[in-house]
Every structure is written in structure tokens, then in C-alpha cells.
Subunit: 214 residues, 2 copies
């Protein structure tokens, strides 16, 4: 099988927002409490950031298991990496994730502003000024034959969808409305001209949307 | 995490039967058409027996992906391996699966009748006269730190449940009634004293039951 480009475990609100307004160092998701979006994932046994034993092993867990599996590289937008805009003022900021980021692969950060690569534990961040197609080619090369995860945020997913480069998406719908922020879609059926769509309600309250190409 | 004992992608009818009556060489599932039970799995992109490209990538596929992943050995009952009863009349029968069985790990077949091990492609079959606990210890040793899959059939799963050795179960309920055959349960809620249970209906018509220990 060829190397897929996959969105995994990306959560949006019922009204389609993946993050709120007003991102800052203290509020990576802007006005939204991140737990309102992503606690479904954090509660599972397999979530990559889990540090303690335990966790659920139901449907949600079956989906968080696929987050790292078969993935050899990630592509993310600059504002998944950090809240800065414009040229990099300093290089001390190394992402939201501390000394051991949960990616464990090369990560390609899309930005218009050059910056040297660096490594934290087993994750190396590269900074690219590139079109989606160029970034995907680089990430595939780095992925050692495995798939590439498209990490978000919303603008990055939209750009790769617009370029028709995405093979599968797993989007979780959290049971909240945000009203404003970074919007992925008005309605998930916008994508069904190009993708099959299954909607699977979970006992946790989220609904998992699974898209794959027609 | 310790090595789990997992049932994966085992299908039963609505009335709890995993196979029909009258198993024979020509009818591994007895009076039941196997497709009525397992076509949900065969339709997915990730099913281990798939030989052609294509297949669905929705909920069912997320579950078939877990069939091989993280598994280092399988335990099965004798009548998953073949229809024979009593001492092995000959050693020409090497299972239902042809030259390349879909297991790709050591497989431990529980039987009261000794038989030498043999290897087909990357699957080695061992024949054990052992209690469930003894068989699990052997399989764990062979699994190289990975989990062990409990492959069935029904009597084997029941024996390991009775010995309280099973950590997680994924059982698919196919939308048919069989009336007779090999019965796993009268009602899945028989297990909820020991296991959490999530029931997840799939668009394909099966309902996935996910059990994990309380």
C-alpha cells in the first residue's frame, strides 16, 4: 500500500471549530478550554500523552491507538507548534510539549519564516516554507515507507484538502458549540463528494467521523 | 504494559453462536455460511486475508486493524485448526489456511492428542495438551513481549473466561440468528460483572462489543 496522508484524532466542536479565538502562550486553544475538546482522547488507555496506567479500552481507545501506528512523520501548521506570528524572535520556544514531545518522528512545521531544525528526545522539528505538495513529498521521504500524519490546525488541514492530498480523516466531534474561532467546516458533508463518511457515536459523548477516499 | 490476552474480531450471531452444528472439512462453520458471520471483516481494507486492493476504511476497518497489531502469538482450540476429532489420523492436514496462514506468529493449538510442530511460511503451529493457564504461559513466552490473541472457537474462549485469564474482548454481533451450534453466551451482559462493555453499532450491520476488565 502506498504512503497515506492521514488526519488522526483531530477534534472540532459541533459547529466545526478546531480552536477558539485569541491563541496565546497561556491559551493554546484561545478562548476554549482544551479539555472540552480533547478529554475524550486523554481518558483512553492508549493516548500518547498518558503517563499513568489505566484508561478506557472502548471505542475511543480503538481510535487513539491509530494516532501513532504506522506513522513515520507529521506535518503541522505553525500555530499548532506555537502562538508566535511573524519572524521567529528567538529560538527558545520549542513547542508546547516540553522535553519529550509525543510525536517520536520527524515533524515538519509549515512557516513562512526560516528556522534551524532541532531535536527533542526522538522528535526532530524541521521548519519548511513549502506548498502542501512539497511538504508532503518531504515528509514522505522522511517517513521510511510509513504513512504521514497531518496534525492540524484547521488552516493546515484545509490547505491540504484544497490541494486534494488527504487520504483519510478521523475527526472527533465534541459535544460543545464554540461560536467563533478556527473553523474546519460548516458541515462535514462538504467533503462527501470526495470521501466516504461514517459517523460513529461514542458512549463518551463525542461522535467519530471517519472519511476515506471514494 | 503487561502482555494482554485479547480476543479480536470474533463474530457471533445475535443469539450468541460462533459456529453452527455439524463441522466438517467442507463446512468449517457447520450449517452456517461463514460469509453470514465474517463478511463484515472481509470487506475492510485491513483484513488479514485481503489479497486485492480496496476495501472500506470506516469503523469496521478500525477494528480489523487491531487483529494483528501488537500480537506475538495466538492460542486456538483444536476445531478452529481443523474438523478432526480424536487422535490425529495423519499429519497431512495443516489447517484451513493453505500455504500462508494469516497468523504470522507462533500458534498454540490446544488438543488432547500429541502432534509435532510444523511451520508454514511465517506461522509455526505447536500442539499443546495444557490447561488455559499453562497454554497462556507458553504463548506469552513465545510472544516476545507482545500480546497474545485468543483465536477461538467458542469452547476455547469460554475455557479462558472461566479461568479468568482474558483481558479484553472484541466480539462482533452479526445480524443473523442461528438457533443451534457452538454458543458463546445467552447474553453478553453475562460478562459485565468482570468487564466494562461498550456496544457500538456499525453502518455495516454488525454491532461491535468491546470488553475490558473492571
Amino acid at each position: 500500500m502506498s504512503q497515506l496522508l492521514r488526519v488522526q484524532c483531530f477534534t472540532v466542536s459541533r459547529d466545526g471549530f478546531g480552536a477558539g479565538e485569541g491563541q496565546s502562550l497561556a491559551r493554546p486553544f484561545g478562548h476554549v478550554d482544551p479539555a472540552d475538546l480533547v478529554s475524550w482522547a486523554g481518558d483512553t488507555a492508549s493516548w500518547v500523552n498518558r503517563t499513568e496506567p489505566g484508561g478506557t479500552r472502548g471505542l475511543d481507545d480503538h481510535l487513539t491507538r491509530d494516532y501513532p501506528r504506522g506513522i513515520g512523520a507529521e506535518i503541522m501548521g505553525r500555530n499548532k507548534f506555537g502562538p508566535q506570528r511573524g519572524p521567529w524572535a528567538d529560538h527558545e520556544w520549542q513547542g508546547w510539549w516540553g522535553d519529550t514531545p509525543p510525536f517520536h518522528t520527524p515533524v515538519f512545521v509549515l512557516t513562512h519564516h526560516p528556522r534551524p531544525s532541532f531535536t527533542l528526545a526522538d522528535t526532530t522539528f524541521h521548519f519548511l516554507t513549502a506548498t502542501p505538495a512539497e511538504a508532503l513529498a518531504r515528509a514522505r521521504q522522511a517517513a521510511g515507507g510509513q504513512d504521514v500524519r497531518l496534525g492540524g490546525g484547521v488552516a493546515t488541514i484545509r490547505a491540504f484538502l484544497d490541494a486534494d492530498l488527504v487520504d483519510t480523516l478521523h475527526i472527533a466531534i465534541a459535544p460543545i458549540d464554540l461560536g467563533r474561532g478556527e473553523r474546519l467546516w460548516r458541515d462535514p458533508r462538504e467533503l462527501t463528494d470526495r470521501f466516504h463518511l461514517e459517523a460513529v457515536p461514542s458512549p463518551s459523548g463525542v461522535t467519530h467521523l471517519l472519511f476515506w477516499r471514494r
